[in-house]
């Protein structure tokens, strides 16, 4: 692994973890798509700032991008507040407008200016190690690493410092207001953090895939845990893992690092969806299958118990008749009876079934319940 490869991965991990932390709150607050709006609208901030300072290197571009992010949130809320359109439609109206203005402005730039919508939008991490920060003749490493690293530290500091407030305003805004925490202040604080993170992740993954880092790892974590702290930690770990796996996937395919990171995050999300303990699709399917057999065994026990000691007992307990009265096909009947025998609920002699004590007990309990 070369130094440049290591640096790219470090930048990607910083960006991913920095996004996963505030992203967890976005997912919990049902505001995931606000990040889509923020990420797209930032382009306008960058272009407008460029028109003012005429340089792509100026830190003003970053500031303007972050401010546009917060302004987008305010604009979406202002439109939604008119109650003429719902909030989802408001998002869908505001960001394409701002984004279109930005694309038109970029197209009107004199040719020769290197500001392409698709570079900002799609990002190109592969070149990040070549933009180095050199102070007093010392090479301090890639600029992007400093930017994403700083944002990571700021985000972790913000969430640690205001954890209680963020938690309460997220889960119970009414209680938060009653306790004297302003939900509005923390809402805009969080949106500011999201905007800054999105700006920082620009270099790493581009505007569109910022949303992949903000939403996908926290969503995967949400499937895995029930506690806010562990959700944030799992999201951060998932983000870091997506960054590293995405880098090597891109290396192997010679494809976009940003796209590969989003794909890797998607694969991790899919794994969480399938294999999460208790809530995963596999666990749920197995639970359903187990319940189905348990129910069949109980039905069998009740059926036998009901006819025990009656004149029809011999007929009703024959294997052949069983299928008809419980409406089971032959295959299901064989497997259900075998399973029940294995659990020690019934015994089987010459095609006749007899309840054991355990089976009788189960039937009695099931009927009473």
């Amino acid at each position: 692994m070369t130094a440049a490869q290591l640096e790219i991965q470090a930048i990607a991990v910083c960006a991913a973890v920095a996004c996963a932390v505030p992203g967890s709150f976005l997912v919990l607050r049902r505001m995931s798509l606000m990040s889509d709006a923020i990420a797209h609208s930032m382009l306008l901030g960058i272009v407008l700032a460029f028109y003012v300072v005429r340089s792509l290197q100026s830190p003003l571009l970053v500031v303007a991008a972050a401010l546009t992010g917060v302004a987008t949130v305010a604009l979406v809320e202002a439109v939604a507040k008119t109650q003429l359109v719902r909030e989802d439609a408001a998002i869908g109206l505001v960001f394409p407008l701002l984004f279109s203005v930005a694309v038109v402005l970029i197209a009107r730039l004199p040719s020769g200016v290197h500001l392409d919508a698709d570079v900002v939008l799609l990002g190109e991490l592969a070149f990040a190690p070549y933009e180095r920060w050199i102070a007093f003749g010392w090479d301090l490493g890639p600029k992007a690493l400093w930017v994403t690293g700083t944002i990571l530290v700021l985000n972790v500091a913000f969430v640690t410092a205001f954890f209680k407030e963020l938690e309460v305003t997220t889960f119970d805004p009414g209680l938060a207001a009653a306790l004297g925490m302003s939900p509005v202040v923390f809402h805009y604080g969080l949106m500011g953090v999201v905007s800054v993170s999105a700006v920082g992740a620009f270099d790493a993954v581009g505007a569109v895939l910022v949303i992949a880092l903000l939403i996908v790892p926290p969503s995967a974590a949400y499937l895995l845990t029930d506690r806010l702290q562990s959700m944030i930690l799992v999201a951060a770990a998932t983000g870091a893992l997506s960054a590293i796996a995405g880098f090597w996937l891109a290396h192997w395919l010679d494809a976009s690092i940003a796209g590969s990171m989003a794909s890797a995050a998607g694969i991790l999300f899919l794994l969480a969806l399938l294999f999460a303990p208790d809530r995963g699709l596999v666990a749920a399917a197995r639970r359903r299958a187990r319940r189905r057999w348990e129910f069949a065994h109980t039905m069998l026990a009740i059926h036998l118990f009901h006819h025990e000691g009656t004149p029809q007992a011999a007929r009703e307990s024959s294997m052949r008749h069983l299928g008809e009265s419980l409406r089971w096909n032959d295959d299901f009947r064989e497997r259900a009876v075998a399973g029940a025998a294995e659990r020690g609920l019934v015994t089987r002699h010459d095609g006749r079934l007899t309840l054991t004590d355990a089976g009788r007990d189960l039937a009695r309990r099931a009927v009473v319940r």
Binding site: V85, L93, V104, I211, A212, V216, G259, A262, L273
Partner: protein
């Protein structure tokens, strides 16, 4: 540019008709998306279509538009179903489900696109036009194909109009009268996918979602009837598409997709502000009138109460007293002037006011009405 000359210009006519078709179809299907609170489903579908375009090229090796569009449709459809599935089988809410599908599908598509671009056989040029759209590349036969898809989608909506309407506004009721709710939902989603993918090449993945939301949201402001809304949305979409294409052709360096979106946004802004009954302007005016009416009534009844405590009917009371009586509400002086104009109060001195006979009669009538 000669405003009528565009019809004789083949390229311009093709592009304008194409974008108008896209806008009209998206307007119709977008109406249902907006009413179902699924405005951002369009955003997810258009982003999710990207890997379909790339895979269609990888698998067939052709850049023929119908093949790529078919790929886009399959991927977009899968994305829409995946987002729906995620909300029903997990505890993720729809915003997170849409966000996950949008970003993962788009990222996967981007990975495939860059993978294709860096292959040595580089016949891929043009695939990335799908990101931002390139309306100038439209051919007449593309427009005919789009119009055919659009017409088919709109006719299906017309065919199942009543069912879709019931299912949109009251899914519970629709299920209770035996409508196949799940299949209707599938139909509407599929048609929405069709409406979106025909626009991808001209408007682009990133901005196509705007054409789903904007015309429908604008149309909603002007009418309370579904049929009116759908027709208006189609018209708004068509107008945005055509005018966007014409404006972008009138100057250099004006990309079509964004200009179309700007036109649609302009219609939205005008609708939000100026629509009768719902618009912000009319509502502001109505609020002000209501406040004034309420204010003058309150001030009049205060004046009446004051007058009853004095023998002299023309005993003046300071405006400050009346302000204090209405709890320090601002606008009391304005209300007094309004009453003066209507002959119910009269000024005495610089700052004194008293109630007239007409005002007294009015106040008594209002007291009777409210008691």
């Amino acid at each position: 540019m000669d405003l009528l000359g565009w019809w004789s210009d083949y390229t311009l006519r093709t592009v304008a008709l194409g974008t108008a078709t896209i806008g009209a179809t998206a307007g119709v299907l977008g109406s249902f998306a907006v009413l179902r609170r699924q405005s951002l489903l369009g955003d997810t579908i258009s982003h999710a279509a990207l890997p379909g375009i790339a895979l269609a090229f990888l698998l067939t090796g052709t850049k023929a538009l119908p093949v790529l569009i078919a790929g886009a449709a399959v991927a977009g459809w899968l994305g829409a179903r995946a987002a729906g599935g995620l909300t029903s089988v997990t505890r993720l809410k729809s915003d997170a489900a849409l966000g996950v599908v949008l970003s993962v599908f788009f990222g996967f598509g981007l990975m495939l696109l860059t993978f294709i671009q860096r292959r040595p056989d580089a016949t891929q040029a043009g695939l990335d036009t799908f990101l931002f759209g390139q309306a100038a590349a439209l051919l007449q036969r593309d427009v005919v194909a789009m119009a055919a898809v659009g017409a088919a989608a709109v006719s299906l909506v017309a065919l199942f109009w009543k069912e879709i309407k019931v299912q949109t506004f009251d899914p519970g009721f629709a299920a209770s009268i035996g409508l196949p709710v799940a299949r209707l939902d599938l139909l509407v989603t599929t048609l929405l996918v069709a409406a979106i993918v025909i626009g991808l090449e001209s408007v682009g993945v990133v901005l196509m979602s705007a054409l789903v939301v904007a015309p429908a949201a604008a149309a909603r402001q002007w009418t309370d009837h579904l049929s009116g809304m759908v027709v208006l949305a189609a018209a708004f979409g068509a107008v945005s598409g055509a005018s966007g294409a014409l404006i972008s052709a009138s100057a250099r360096h004006l990309p079509t997709g964004p200009v179309v979106v700007l036109c649609a946004s302009l219609i939205v802004v005008v609708s939000l502000l100026a629509a009768p009954a719902r618009g912000v302007v009319i509502r502001r005016a109505r609020d002000r009138r209501a406040r004034r009416r309420f204010g003058t009534r309150a001030v009049l009844s205060d004046l009446y109460a004051l007058a009853r405590q004095h023998d002299d009917p023309e005993h003046a009371h300071a405006a400050a007293v009346l302000e204090a009586m209405s709890g320090g509400r601002s606008g009391v002086r304005g209300d007094l002037e309004e009453l003066e104009r209507r002959g119910m109060a009269r000024r005495a001195g610089d700052d004194g006011w008293f109630i007239t006979d007409a005002g007294r009669a009015r106040a008594e009538r209002e007291l009777e009405e409210t008691s």
